[in-house]
Symmetry: C2
Subunit: 439 residues, 2 copies
């Protein structure tokens, strides 16, 4: 036989590859997200991972563009998608005449960014997005439905307490409009975005540096110091008596969103108004969201998004406003595992039952496996000819909850031994009884 | 506002991107495949799309290597996976000590091949693979379980009659061993593989060309002319009385596989022995499978695979035999759509019901939507402020099966109008009644 040159089997850093038990957990989380998106009637969408660079980079620039995986094949410049929003914009512009608006879609898929490798940062990672796209306009009530979706997902996932933070960019914009410092708005928002990290004093210092007058900084501070319950915050915002139109528009929208978030039965202590949230991206124009796991704020927002005025302006003249969110599943999973928050109660194996024979033919195992599967019970047969010890350690290692053992005694009585692998109990049962138990 | 330079929103040829109703169908097929793999207890696996070129191309060569998407990022040569088997080999070699054998896994994911673009050929496409990997050895009964999985999937998918064709490479190899033309085996197998396409006469001509003696060609023809029922074919193979050890090993394996395929309750006319199947790839060493949709043989095999001696020899010294299959879902979906075989009976929308209001507040819609979703009913609210005609055409266009209509009359009576969009019937119902109907 010819000599084989072997290569070290490795996986690149920044790429997640899980062992089976973790993969089962990962898929469970993804299923909760998908099922919830579908519970709200979102349509599935799937766009290619590879797109023409010209299309994918129509808007991109700066930091994002540097991170994109691009290459040439034949005479075409190709790129791997770096988010699911640009492909959505392309899709909606391309299929405008075929779609029914509001177009409500979810897409769950991998995106790619050649970021510098560091702990918890991935170059290939899942995003789980929903967006609602209107044709020319889109009711503000859609912005209230989004938190109810986030609420349903994270309640089901049961990682503990979380808070959905809601704000409206028009309120922020309105503040600067009111203070007549709109020209500095972008810079100021970038500074405000750091408030939670660096604190108010450091923020004020930075504001001075970019030339904001002392009296205006005081008003900015007063604004961001607004505290209290959700209703108190709204009351205080109203009492500012700002004349800025954009401010009052934003406040009215926020009130409407809060009203409907409550109607959607999001519990009062699972959401709050947070006037500091701006979301870095410049395309958010109204409602914005972030979600924190309480006690684990350092991992950052686990679900963010917002309202934008115009999804696809780089592809079409049609005005397509929308609202959406994204869950960065790969990073979330990494953090949950690091923090020990992955539930121990979830299944550790796919099979509910492992069927083994002892000194009798495998045909007996096949027969009952057929019946189990016909009843929807996930079952496998241990088929290797080996010591009974090995057969048991297979089921033990994989943490399969039940074993069915078939030997001569069992065959003689027309029954099977059913062993509960958690309690260790085992009992002779008829096939029908076993099906009832495992169903 | 600054002038925006617009780009034509296009999707590259060779990349599948579906409209919502087709995507729903596509996902349904994928779910049947996934659910069946899980019904047999296969563990989920997910490997990265991007791998180090050195790892991915440890074995590859020839035609495949030319099709691979490779590129450099920083100082690393990267490649997109072109199948799910090489990543499986890497994974098993890498995680050998963490895995429990036989390791039974499924992976459903996209793979990439820069093939020349032509109708029905995709550059980015789904493969849905299962493999069972043994540590040093693997029982032949696993080879019989595979056809039962194929059978369960295609029965559920209900595209019509199909046939799983089963052969054993050792029988073929044994034939050439017996005729003492093993040195020409590879060439001959490539010619035999074309039998169905070009017919026996053309095959014989090609065999003459490569120098096979007339008497041996006759014996080859006799062999491939073996007909009859499955049992008759086995009988005729036995009656050849070949002394080749490899031939007799293959025949014994085939008999055992057939025996267990029947025990797994695969219906007799859904499988057959087909002695012409060789499967081009050189790594199959035992049982091989192909699956045809009866009447649509021209689209080729829709599910193929087989037994191999050594999965990961390019990564490890461990001997890891396995058996597996792959369904090329993207191509299958394309063909089913072209042939008009996609069932009309599947859901055309995700939502079961669309809730609209007429002249009353949306809070009434939110209230019942909460109750529906708490009962697991997929529901959406039409939230836009527009003419009732538009509200109805939304539900019509998306073919949502039911509408709930809420107006002043309904509120006065504490009821809702439930409209069946297929029959057009509508009736006033209490919330609890509606939940019962839609559940």
């Amino acid at each position: 036989m010819e000599e084989i040159k072997r290569v070290e089997p490795r996986t690149l850093s920044g790429f997640m590859e899980l062992l089976p038990q973790d993969q089962i957990k990962f898929n469970e989380i993804m299923n909760v997200i998908r099922q919830t998106y579908e519970l709200y009637g979102f349509l599935p969408q799937e766009t290619p991972i590879i797109e023409a660079s010209e299309v994918l980079l129509a808007k991109a620039g700066g930091e994002t563009e540097k991170q994109i995986y691009s290459f040439t094949k034949g005479d075409t410049d190709l790129s791997l998608r770096f988010d699911l929003t640009v492909p959505l914009a392309k899709y909606v512009a391309k299929n405008y005449n075929e779609l029914t608006f509001p177009y409500r879609r979810y897409q769950i898929g991998k995106v790619f960014r050649g970021e510098r490798a560091q702990k918890g940062r991935y170059r290939e990672f899942y995003q789980c997005d929903i967006d609602i796209i209107g044709d020319d306009k889109l009711s503000i009530i859609n912005d209230a439905e989004i938190p109810s979706i986030i609420y349903t997902i994270f309640k089901k996932l049961n990682f503990g307490k979380f808070v959905i933070k809601i704000n409206n960019r028009k309120i922020l914009n309105g503040l600067f409009d009111e203070l007549e410092i709109s020209d500095k708005m972008k810079e100021i928002l970038i500074i405000i975005d750091k408030l939670e990290k660096i604190g108010m004093d450091a923020v004020k210092e930075e504001l001075v540096k970019i030339g904001v007058a002392e009296d205006k900084i005081q008003k900015i501070e007063n604004f961001f110091n607004i505290t209290g319950t959700t209703d108190e915050k709204i009351e205080k915002l109203r009492k500012l008596n700002f004349s800025s139109q954009i401010f009052n528009e934003g406040l009215a929208e926020l009130e409407e969103v809060i009203k409907y978030v409550r109607l959607f039965k999001v519990e009062e202590d699972y959401f709050k108004i947070d006037l500091t949230i701006a979301r870095g991206l410049d395309y958010y124009t109204g409602t914005v969201y972030e979600t924190n796991l309480v006690g684990y704020e350092s991992i950052g927002s686990v679900c963010s998004g917002g309202r934008y005025e115009n999804l696809a302006e780089y592809y079409t003249k049609k005005k397509l406003p929308g609202v959406g969110i994204s869950i960065g599943l790969t990073r979330l999973f990494y953090n949950l595992k690091e923090l020990g928050l992955l539930s121990e109660n979830t299944a550790k194996s796919i099979s509910k039952v492992d069927i083994v024979t002892m000194g009798v033919g495998l045909e007996n195992a096949v027969e009952i496996s057929n019946s189990l599967r016909e009843n929807g019970i996930k079952a496998e047969i241990y088929k290797e000819d080996t010591k009974i010890k090995n057969k048991f350690s297979y089921a033990n290692n994989l943490e399969i909850p039940y074993m069915i053992i078939i030997g001569e005694d069992e065959l003689a009585q027309g029954k099977y031994t059913l062993k509960n692998m958690t309690t260790g109990e085992q009992e002779l049962k008829k096939k029908e009884e076993i099906i009832e138990i495992l169903k």
